[in-house]
């Protein structure tokens, strides 16, 4: 006789992004259709002959919200996670929870690349003795999960899932499983990334992954537009407080949404290109809906991965059709990376925050910069202004896919 698995709910949201210093500022800017894009440091562009001269950088510099010692001893990606986690924790009402029943699950795509490169520079120019002693714990990809665990006394485990641009979403899926398995009552889950730096920019440029619309950064990210030419690199951190329904109810928490289900798959097709038929992605989506105990008919909104790359956007559209068939006609599809840029390992977590907010406010955020909708996109794309979502219980999907062939879909529902 097994007891029914616990329902998992979302009780707190936090984010620091190119659109705002908090989850709420970010959401309001997204509803207003604002772009977070702006010029890169001119000296970078000049010193390294960067072919791309813009990115989406944090709206509120971390130096405004963290102590000097925190910015010195943590890599920016861990700083972003800490800022977002503090906000999410406060938003959840700072739950009282046994340390042994509290876990962190914070993913990243690349980790402490800025620390790694700074340490290498110290070594090259000044020798081994001048390498900062905290370099290793700062650059390791688990330092964000460790920092969050340390901050809130999370002793049930500190987890780091690394799956490129689906890291944030997969970390949230992992949090869902921890609570369902009875291994934790509360999980601080999400993702963070701090890759706005010449090296990642050069690397992505060499892959021809980035938009080169240097004359118009704010319109560079244009998912589903016929003239899309790559993604806008972003940075930031986004965190959700996940909690078992029982634990949340017992303390009288405000429940924002349920995390109703998750689906994970791998393409096994190519290290960086999506599988064009979208078989793996569609399986992840269908699994998330099934895991939520729902049907495709229940889905009213999809926060799509939609990075603004020529191949990726239409592969996802094909996958949505493959998963949901004609039911996809009544799903409002939004590509919020048109505004936020692509936060890589934080992207899926930020879009999970958006998904929860869309349920709370019954609104699907817009996709901006679509001048001409690609004819291959036969879906109901929310363009330019937010869309009111229908009455009744909502089910919303957050899709994330990553280099390596990772596919993750999260299903959030009304509580």
């Amino acid at each position: 006789m097994t007891s029914p698995r616990p329902t998992v709910v979302v009780t707190g949201l936090g984010a620091t992004t190119p659109l705002g210093g908090t989850a709420e500022e970010t959401w309001q800017a997204a509803l207003a259709g604002r772009s977070g894009a702006g010029p890169l440091d001119a000296s970078w562009v000049e010193d390294y002959q960067l072919p791309v001269t813009f990115a989406a950088q944090l709206a509120t510099p971390v130096t405004e919200v963290l102590k000097k010692v925190e910015t010195k001893r943590l890599d920016p990606f861990a700083q972003y996670a800490l800022v977002a986690a503090r906000e999410a924790w406060a938003d959840a009402g700072a739950p009282e929870v046994e340390p042994e029943r509290l876990a962190s699950s914070v993913g990243t795509g690349i980790g402490g690349v800025q620390t790694l490169l700074a340490a290498w520079e110290s070594l090259r120019t000044k020798g081994a003795r001048r390498v900062y002693p905290l370099s290793i714990p700062m650059l390791m990809p688990n330092s964000a999960a460790g920092t969050v665990s340390l901050e809130f006394g999370a002793r049930a485990g500190a987890h780091t899932l690394v799956s490129a641009c689906s890291s944030g979403a997969e970390s949230i899926a992992y949090g869902l499983h921890l609570i369902r398995e009875g291994l934790a009552d509360v999980v601080i889950a999400g993702g963070s990334e701090a890759s706005v730096h010449p090296l990642p920019i050069a690397g992505f440029t060499q892959m021809q992954a980035l938009s080169t619309r240097n004359d118009s950064p704010e319109t560079a990210s244009r998912p589903y537009d016929t003239d899309r030419d790559g993604f806008l690199l972003g940075e930031g951190g986004a965190i959700l407080v996940l909690e078992s329904e029982e634990h949340a109810k017992a303390r009288g928490a405000t429940i924002i949404a349920t995390l109703a289900g998750a689906g994970v798959s791998a393409d096994s097709h190519h290290i960086a290109a999506p599988e064009p038929e979208g078989a793996g992605a569609s399986r992840a989506m269908a699994d998330a809906v099934r895991d939520a105990g729902a049907n495709p008919k229940d889905l009213s909104h999809i926060n799509a991965h939609a990075t603004s790359t020529p191949v990726g956007d239409v592969a996802e559209v094909a996958a949505i059709r493959r998963a949901f068939g004609a039911d996809a006609d009544h799903m409002a599809v939004s590509g919020t990376k048109s505004m936020t840029g692509h936060l890589l390992g934080a992207a899926g977590a930020l879009e999970a925050v958006f998904a929860a907010q869309s349920i709370r406010d019954r609104k699907a955020p817009p996709t901006i910069n679509i001048e001409n909708l690609d004819p291959a996109v036969d879906l109901d794309v929310v363009r330019d202004t937010p869309r009111d979502l229908p009455e009744g219980d909502l089910l919303v999907l957050d899709n994330s896919f990553g280099f390596g062939g990772h596919n993750v879909a999260l299903a959030f529902g009304s509580y």
């Binding site: 000097k68 010692v69 010195k72 003795r129 001048r130 900062y132 002693p133 905290l134």
Partner: protein, 83 residues
């Protein structure tokens, strides 16, 4: 031009403050690094290396652990600074 004791103390206070976040005014000669100022061994290494550079005094790794108080560090630097 050798640094005076006051100079070294003030400079060291800034370095400790920068590394640990404690107020520089808290960093007085009688304070112990570990208990009073909450400096862990990693931070101590950073402080030693930064002080080396600032005052031109070599502080070998095996000496670092003998510097219990801020005053110990000031005296060591004063005695070993480059003339």
């Amino acid at each position: 031009m050798a640094h005076t004791e006051q100079d070294i103390l003030a400079g060291l206070a800034d370095i400790v403050s920068e590394e640990t976040g404690v107020d520089a005014s808290e960093v007085t000669a009688d304070k112990t690094f570990t208990d009073d100022l909450d400096v862990d061994s990693l931070s101590m290494m950073t402080i030693a290396v930064t002080a080396e550079e600032k005052f031109g005094a070599k502080i070998p790794d095996e000496e670092v652990k003998n510097l219990k108080t801020v005053g110990d560090a000031v005296n060591y630097i004063k005695a070993n600074q480059a003339a």
